[in-house]
Every structure is written in structure tokens, then in C-alpha cells.
Symmetry: C2
Subunit: 420 residues, 2 copies
């Protein structure tokens, strides 16, 4: 099935907003085994919209149009859709009623121009939008089925998931069930993960498992898309592949599916009634900012101490050790932070940053330590790639070593991003 996406709106076309709706739709379709072939971006302009709708209607089997369903004069999707299909606009009593009750529930008065949102091309099929006033709809233009969606990301996302993907799957003739399984790893580069997982898809010989990756430094997401007759069939196909991925990526898998590195850390601490103190130098609060504001963290995050100068850090923790960044000093810092705050765990991440201006081989030497009552674990690591790269890498390395410590895994396992 040839699928196209048309994104509309001056704000997207002029780059005022980055088009994350496009990548969201495209990824979600990939995740269920559908592929987008062509993307078009046009502004709020009648002629270009009409051209875009007509051209896609000639080329594609299905077209998802995003934006232009609002109440203002520059929202043109319904009008141009009607014109492209050669039909009239007509008031949808059904959507008008839906909107009226929407406003009633919120004790707000519906303004006159909202009525425009209930004007749909004749014969259009309504796609429900339970969280907004923009009415989604589907209709034929040329040889393609068009699906019109709101520009507001959360409204689009819900409509795509609940209304559009089921219809696309039905049309594509794949009456099969589909599941997406995800693994989040840190410490292995994308090509290394790809190489380690070489051949895992072949554990299911009928080709119903597809492997994919999405890298957002420093994390890599590994995705398995599985098709089957039903849930039980998918489960049966997935189980050996999941076991193999877990075995091959091993300790580098930090979390799966909707879990996150920080979530997994909070869970481990919460389960043992633990608490955490943090000490940071160059990362300057970025490690704390990943964990401490999360729901539930108010019970776990005890205290954070930040300083750029290690003399200042030693002062804040009342330490009198030599002024140098080593595994030993990181251990002393973590132990002092834990003791003084009374937390069950403390993580200290100290960074000896290179001198001079930012550049591609600018690096930092990271000494980190994790202290618990009566024990301390530490590692030293050197990361290159510019100031921001070092900072992002140190944040991830610190959090990942804490995860490893909490789950009884080796804290010093070598990662692809470090130099010695």
C-alpha cells in the first residue's frame, strides 16, 4: 500500500515549528509494518493545498493530512478537500452536537467560528477526536483514501492510534495482529548493536519479525516488530527472539518498552526503601534533573551538591583530601555525601575537563563512584567529542553505572564511547 503524508500550515512550512508530527506518524506506521513513501509540506494557501491533495490522490492508496482543521480563516483543509473531490461542504449535525457537549462539559461557551469545524465535505466519514474540537474525517480524493487529522500533537497521536491505523491495516489486507517490542541500551554504538544482533530475525523463519534501530545519543533503541495471527501466535514467535536479544546485548540493556533508565533506577531504590544523594561537577545538575523531578522521586531523591571547582566541592562536603580528580577522590566524595545526607546510596560524578576552546576532540576524564553503607564502587572513563558530548555522555554513564550497581551488574564494563 502506497502511503503519503501531507503536512499543512505556514508555521511548519516556514520552519517556525519543527515538524515532529511527520516523524511521529511515520514511525507509528513503521511500527505496525506500514511504510510511508512520500511526504509533502505546504502552507495555508488554497492553490498549493489543492495541488498537493490532487497529486497525492493520483499517486497514493492512502494519504494522511495533518493540520488545517481549526476554527480560523487560515484553516482550509475541509474546504480544499471538498474542492479536490468535487463535492460541497455541509454542516455535520453530529459533530456540532459533539462540540456543543465538549464546551458544556468545560463550562465554556462555544464561539460562532467553531461552527466552521463542523463543516465537512459531503459523504466524509467522521474520525472521532475525544480531546479537541477539530473533527477528523476520511474521504476519497482521486484513487486514494484521505485521512484528515488535527495539528495539535496529542489530538493527532490519539486519532492516529485509535482511528486511522486500524483502518489502514484493514485496507492493507493484513488482517494480522502486530506488536512492537523495544529495548533501550547505552554503551554500544548503533553499528555495534546491529552487528551483535545479526541474524536474530531469522530465529523466526517466516519473516514475520523485523529488526530496527533508533539512535538518540547516548541511547540506542532496538525495535522488534512482530506480525502474527493473534496475540498467542505473536507471543510464541517473539519469545525466542526476545531471549536472544537480551542474551546478546546483556548488561547493556537498561530498560525495555515504556521503561526508562531513570525509571528503572527509581524502581530499584524504591523497592528496597532506599534513597539517593548526588554530587556533580561539570554536569552541574543535569544528572539530578533527569531523576529528581519525576513522580515518586520526592521520596527517594535526598540531596544534590554541585560545584564546578573541586575545592569548592570538597568545602561543601567538608573534605580535606588532595585536590585532584581520581577514583579515590570520587569514592571519598560519594562516601561523604552519603554519610552527611543519611541516604542509602550516593553517586558522585567528577569530570576533569580538557583545556581550551570547544572542538571535536575536546574531552573529559570522568571519575565516578557509588557509595552505600560500608561499600563503594567506582570507575574511570575518558570521553571525547566536544563539551556537550562529554556532558551528555557523563550524565548517561553516571546514571547507567548507578543502575548497574543497583542490579548487581559490573560497573566497570567497557563501553564503545570511551577512550583509554
Amino acid at each position: 500500500m502506497l502511503i503519503e503524508i501531507i503536512c499543512t500550515g505556514d508555521e511548519v512550512l516556514t520552519g517556525k515549528i519543527v515538524n515532529t508530527n511527520f516523524s511521529h506518524v511515520s514511525q507509528k506506521l513503521e511500527d505496525v509494518g506500514l511504510t510511508v513513501r512520500w511526504g509533502t509540506t505546504v502552507g495555508d494557501d488554497r492553490d498549493t493545498l489543492l495541488d498537493a491533495f490532487r497529486q497525492a490522490g493520483e499517486r497514493a492508496d492512502a494519504v494522511i493530512v495533518n493540520g488545517g482543521l481549526g476554527p480560523t480563516v487560515d484553516d482550509l483543509s475541509q474546504e480544499i478537500a471538498a474542492r479536490a473531490a468535487g463535492v460541497e461542504l455541509a454542516l455535520s449535525e453530529e459533530w456540532l452536537t459533539t462540540m456543543e457537549s465538549y464546551f458544556l462539559r468545560r463550562s465554556r461557551v462555544m464561539s460562532a467560528n467553531n461552527k466552521k469545524q463542523a463543516m465537512l465535505p459531503e459523504g466524509a466519514e467522521i474520525l472521532d477526536n475525544p480531546i479537541g474540537t477539530a473533527c477528523g474525517f476520511a474521504m476519497d480524493i482521486g484513487r486514494a483514501r484521505f485521512f484528515f487529522t488535527p495539528g495539535v500533537p496529542r489530538e493527532l497521536r490519539r486519532m492516529l492510534e485509535e482511528q486511522i491505523i486500524p483502518r489502514l491495516l484493514a485496507r492493507s489486507g493484513t488482517q494480522t495482529a502486530i506488536r512492537l517490542k523495544r529495548f533501550h541500551s547505552y554503551g554500544l554504538g548503533e553499528s555495534h548493536v546491529d552487528q551483535l544482533l545479526n541474524g536474530v530475525e531469522d530465529l523466526v523463519p517466516d519473516g514475520s519479525v523485523k529488526l530496527g534501530f533508533r539512535a538518540h545519543y547516548p541511547q540506542i533503541e532496538t525495535k522488534l516488530t512482530v506480525r502474527g495471527a493473534d496475540d498467542a501466535d505473536i507471543e510464541k514467535k517473539l519469545a525466542p527472539v526476545v531471549a536472544e536479544v537480551r542474551q546478546r546485548l546483556g548488561n547493556f540493556i537498561m530498560a525495555e518498552d515504556d521503561d526508562s533508565l531513570e525509571g528503572v533506577i527509581l524502581k530499584a531504590l524504591s523497592e528496597r526503601g532506599g534513597s539517593l544523594s548526588l554530587v556533580e561537577s561539570f554536569t552541574s545538575g543535569q544528572i539530578a534533573a533527569r531523576l529528581a523531578p519525576l513522580p515518586g522521586a520526592e521520596k527517594i531523591f535526598r540531596r544534590g551538591t554541585l560545584a564546578r571547582d573541586i575545592g569548592e566541592l570538597w568545602d561543601a562536603l567538608r573534605l580535606t583530601i588532595p585536590l585532584e580528580i581520581t577514583r579515590d577522590s570520587a569514592e571519598a566524595v560519594a562516601e561523604a555525601a552519603r554519610r552527611q545526607s543519611g541516604a542509602s546510596h550516593a553517586l558522585a560524578v567528577l569530570i576533569d575537563l580538557d583545556e581550551g576552546p570547544d572542538r571535536i576532540d575536546f574531552g573529559g576524564t570522568i571519575c565516578l563512584a557509588i557509595a552505600t553503607e560500608g561499600a563503594v564502587d567506582s570507575r574511570r572513563s575518558r570521553i571525547l567529542g566536544g563539551r556537550e558530548w562529554v556532558r551528555l555522555g557523563a550524565v548517561e554513564l553516571g546514571l547507567d553505572c548507578l543502575r548497574r550497581h543497583l542490579y548487581g551488574l559490573p560497573v566497570t564494563e567497557r563501553i564503545d564511547f570511551e577512550r583509554t
Copy 2:
């Protein structure tokens, strides 16, 4: 001039990466008074690339193509450009030499497949890429001039600025000079800024000043694009408009052009030989993370103290005041943090967060204080809009109040985002 952008590559089409190159190019063109009319996204596929090039070549005057200039087999831009124009590919000795010296300077050996990057359509004009091996080029396809650019963002950005925009301006017949003036504000919503600046463009009656906005919560960027015969002419036109914008937005302008809120704070502290300590609760290090890692901040950022629980915070600062978040307690916290670290300035941002799950009317009450030797300034503010909205708002409010304090402006001026 009708301008189109074609973004190529499976990673962009499938949404694996969000297409920030498109918005960057589009914004940069807007900034010099050029407008993009149509955007196309296609994958690494010969047939769709050929269709996309041919269609754009029929519709547009100028087309910017991004991606597909790399050394691997799925990089197809040169091949398809040649086919679309009906010419052959030929080895560019000029680019081959450029690449060889590029590798030589880096003491690396050029691999055989890099040679593919020097194969250009016959008659193509080289667009220099001083920071990469992908060769940019320009050529005619259909009635349009095509500009082929690398997918690597920093290579694209430089080529666009140095090579393509001057050529587009020359082609568009606007032999005028252009300048972009930017103001960064916080505390006023976009529609409020728009309303306050109503009519400023008309101070220059010939229509050569254009006003625009870009909102990235919580900041708003106000942009003036000015055209003139030369720099002096631009200066003359711009001066009264800039004065008027500064007057109307007043204290809400935090920084101009390439300056940032955090940069302006560091500058003020640096000029008076000052230093800064921070205390954060719910923002949990995010305020520190904006300032402390910047170059130069190592001399200014003294110490950060973080805790989610205010009892813990009072303990860390050895305070024995009542356990409540008020302007008074924020003042006591800021004073203690300043005294204990010996910094010239301390900022404390304490947040009393609503109970219950996240929701659109979830809010937080922010009490913040700025202490210097012998004086303390404070404000209380309530922000709604969900956990992340409160957190982002509190970070910006804290930093902006510090800026206001440092520049002698009122810290308690009401902002659009607060409820009372």
C-alpha cells in the same frame, strides 16, 4: 521566486530522525526575505527521487535538495540529478583533490568509496564544503536551479549561509542588503507581544521592515528583517524600530541577537567579579544545568544545593526556620546559601507543587529569592499547566529574576504566565 525544499533519506522519511534540517533552511530563507512554497520528503529510492526532482523542476525557480551525497550505495543524489537533467556523471578532479587534502590534513587514508563523492553531473557548479567530504553542487533541472546539500546539519548550515543564500538573493533580483535583528523575551505570551508591537513596521513606511515571531516556551523570539541599499541604509531604517521595540517590550527583553539569558547573567556577574550559588527544589538542578556548564562559568558558579524535601534542604543549609515555602523562607535560604558558600549572589527557587496526578491545570507555587551581601529580593508566583510546564516556567522565572536583579530592574513585575 518560487523555492522548494526536497529532503531525502530513509531515516527522515521513516521518522527515525526528526527533520530539523527542513525547518532550519526554511527559517534561514525567511530571515533573508525568501519564502519556501513547497516541501517534499522522499526516501533513498531511485524512482521516487527522480519523480521528486522532475516535479520540483517543473514547478519551482529554485530547489534545495538535502541529503544523499555520502559515500555509500544508498546515497543517490548525484546519480538521480544527472538522470533528471539528462546528463552523465563525471569525475570532478577538483573535488577529488579537495577530498585528498582533507584526509591528508587529518592523517587519515581516503577509502575507495569516497571517490563516489567526487562523481558529479556534467556541468554542475561546485558548492564548497570546507568541513566535510560531501560535495555540494548546483545545476539546472527543468526550469529550476537545484542546490544539492549534505545531510550533516553543520555542513548543510555552513553551505546554506556561505554558498546558497548569496546565490538565491542574486537570482531573486533583490540586490539589496538584508539584516536580521532579534530580541529574546520572557514573560509575555506571543499574542501579547504581537499586540504590543502592533504598527512598529510602519515606522519605516517603504515596507522594508518585516516583523515576525518564534515561540519556544517559555521564551519568545521577536525578529525584524530589514532590507536596504547597503549597511548604512539598513542602520538608518533599523534604529527607530529597534528603539521602539525596546521601549514597548521594556524589561521583558532578556537578550538580543546571539546573546542568551544565561549568557547575560554570566556577563553581569563576571563584570563585577561576582559569583553565584543556587538552591533548587522541584527544578532539581535544571537551573544550574543552564548556567554552570557554560565556558567561563567555572569562575562564577560557586555551589548548588538541591533537595525535593524542604526539611532536607533546611538541613543541608543548617537552617532551623519553620518548614514552609514562603517568600520569607526563600529569603532565609538564599541568605544562608550565599553566606555559607561566600558567593556574591545566591538564588533560591522553592516550589510548592500541587498534589495528585499530572493534568492540564496541575500547578505550582514558586517562591524565589536573590540574596546579596546585606540585601535580599524575592517574589511569589503561581504557574499552571502540568508538571513539566511548571518546571520549565520556574527555571525561566528564576533565571529571569536573577537577570532583573543584576540589571537593576523590578523583580516582581507581573508576567502573563502566572495566576494569582
